[in-house]
């Protein structure tokens, strides 16, 4: 029986098993036709190889080249999730203004000290905060909001902003010193007898310009290409000025990112009070704030109709809207000595059922924003907040 071409070809590459090779050689010795075919297969392989040699040698890269390439990839880590279409659109990398939408739609008000800190903290645009309102996010960014996506958004927000004044954290020894540095009367909860660690977080001021193209890219990241951009958004300039605030930490509070390693009983004593004058947001007059609010509300999952209705009920020039991921954070309206505020309760940590959920009370009074954060029993939240003086 004659040898198939494929076997003759594999023979050339030394890819035949011992037995098969022996059988093949044996056959070739006695079969002139197969010898001819074997020669033809070899010649053709030789010609193909010669053609290939026209392409020149392979590029010769060293391990150092590979390491450098990996570093570049790591550096552009946030690009990972951006699919190649976008990379062609923005060849250099994600450059400024990209996330300005998010910043307009979700301007950082909660994060008065550092607007670029976290996407989750970005709030709707406004001029001067006089009130807070919770906006449940039906389609929170949580579901498919991977760490990579968050990195992209944060990077973009960071890229898109020009920091005019950089906030610093200045530890201070006593309330009087904090009052003097921050420029307002610092209030502390009378229900806590222990001494807080006090720090003044100095003013933070950023500026950015919105680009419609970047906004659309951002919408692609969050999967909302269905949204129409509000009129006047493209090219709008936005200035956010977060005045100096004061942070008071009671008990054993964790450094936030390391919370996983924190012992539960330590957290029980932790409480953080933050206060600062409401930030001001200045935008170009053409920008229709209600339109931006509607856009932002749709971004958080409201239907266009819901967003429109809701947007009419709020004075966006003075209200900080706080997006609440509905599946992980619950919110309720509370009264702090007669002033309306909101109480947010966080979900438990997945792996650490021993760690109590965190809660935050937020309210605005007399132009000042206050937040009180703690862990565990939410029944203590409002009394603690009301004891500020």
């Amino acid at each position: 029986m004659c040898i198939p071409d494929g076997t003759l070809r594999a023979r050339l590459d030394g890819e035949l098993g011992q037995a098969e090779l022996a059988g093949t050689e044996e056959h070739l010795r006695t079969c002139a036709r197969c010898r001819e075919r074997a020669a033809a297969v070899a010649e053709r392989a030789g010609r193909a190889q010669a053609l290939f040699s026209e392409l020149g040698p392979e590029a010769d890269l060293s391990p150092a080249d590979a390491a450098a390439a990996y570093a570049r990839l790591e550096h552009g880590r946030s690009d990972r999730i951006v699919d190649s279409r976008w990379r062609r659109l923005f060849p250099a990398r994600l450059t400024p203004a990209w996330g300005a939408v998010a910043a307009v739609a979700l301007v950082a008000v909660l994060a008065t000290s550092a607007p670029t800190r976290s996407v989750a903290q970005r709030l709707l645009g406004l001029f001067r905060v006089k009130a807070v309102v919770a906006v449940p996010m039906e389609r929170d960014f949580g579901g498919d909001f991977t760490a990579e996506k968050r990195d992209v958004l944060q990077q973009v927000l960071a890229d898109s902003m020009v920091t005019l004044v950089e906030s610093r954290r200045v530890p201070v020894a006593a309330r009087e010193e904090a009052t003097k540095l921050a420029g307002f009367d610092v209030q502390l909860p009378a229900l806590r007898q222990d001494q807080p660690q006090l720090a003044v977080i100095t003013e933070h001021k950023v500026e950015f310009t919105v680009s419609a193209e970047r906004v659309r890219t951002l919408l692609s990241v969050v999967g909302r290409t269905d949204l129409n951009l509000p009129a006047g958004l493209d090219g709008a300039k936005v200035l956010v000025d977060a005045p100096a605030g004061v942070m008071a930490r009671y008990g054993e509070c964790p450094d936030w990112p390391r919370l996983r390693g924190q012992a539960a009983q330590q957290l029980a004593s932790c409480m953080v009070v933050v206060q600062s004058p409401g930030p001001t947001v200045v935008t170009t007059p053409e920008l229709d704030l209600t339109g931006v609010a509607e856009f932002g509300l749709q971004l958080t999952g409201m239907t266009p109709e819901q967003a429109h209705t809701f947007a009419q009920t709020v004075d966006w020039t003075s209200t900080a809207a706080i997006p609440i991921p509905r599946n992980t954070v619950s919110s309720e309206t509370v009264s702090i000595n007669g002033t309306p505020g909101i109480l947010l309760t966080g979900a438990r940590f997945r792996e650490r059922t021993d760690i109590p959920p965190s809660w935050v009370v937020l309210w605005v009074k007399g132009g000042m924003m206050y937040s009180v954060t703690g862990f565990g029993d939410t029944a203590t939240a409002v009394p603690l907040a009301e004891s500020l003086r």
Binding site: T7, A10, L61, P357
Partner: protein, 198 residues
């Protein structure tokens, strides 16, 4: 108010959402360092430009990073297959985009005065080889390229999802198709631009 924000909402985002694709960081790095130089070397022959080859390699790794965990079991094979396919697509797109009929004719007929004729002819031949490769079935072009770069039959079978026992037969066929495509281009070089895809 950093604590306020982070306490209530970051907790939700941080803990409630996945940490990403699931590649252990070190594992991905190891795969990258093992295969990157090799891939760029192979891709360089296919596209003829180192920068472009590196781009395609990086894109392949990005795809691998995002791919489902099934691809991790044999990252080498997956990378070889994906990267060579991207290179073929890129060469094909380049043929369509960059070479008008007149440009192709010009490249053959009017070698730039400053270049020795030999050089011009060699460059043209290189381009024809590349064009011939790009006109094969992708699987054939991948097989030829990866074999020319020294992959064993087992590695080829892993990368291109074929039986190891079939590699010899398919390789022989691919060589025949390659030669035929090249001869056609040689006889009518303008085909390398005014190709079937147009």
């Amino acid at each position: 108010m950093e604590y306020a924000g982070e306490a209530a909402m970051d907790v939700g985002l941080r803990e409630g959402s996945a940490e990403g694709g699931g590649w252990p960081e070190r594992a991905f790095e190891a795969v990258f360092l093992e295969y990157y130089a090799r891939l760029v070397g192979i891709l360089y022959r296919m596209v003829g430009d180192r920068g472009h080859a590196e781009e395609i390699a990086s894109e392949s790794f990005l795809k691998l990073y995002q791919a489902s965990s099934g691809s991790w079991r044999n990252p080498g094979g997956w990378l070889y297959r994906t990267a060579t396919r991207l290179a073929i697509d890129s060469v094909r797109a380049g043929n369509r985009r960059n070479l008008s009929l007149s440009e192709a004719a010009e490249a053959v007929a009017i070698a730039p005065a400053a270049d020795p004729l030999d050089d011009a002819l060699r460059r043209e031949r290189t381009r024809q080889v590349r064009a011939a490769l790009a006109r094969l079935k992708p699987a054939q072009a991948q097989l030829l390229t990866l074999r020319a770069s020294g992959l064993s039959y087992k590695e080829l079978a892993d990368a291109l999802q074929m039986k190891p026992a079939s590699v010899g037969r398919l390789l022989g066929r691919a060589e025949a198709a390659f030669e035929k495509a090249y001869r056609r281009l040689e006889a009518a070089p303008w085909r390398s631009s005014a190709s079937k895809e147009n």
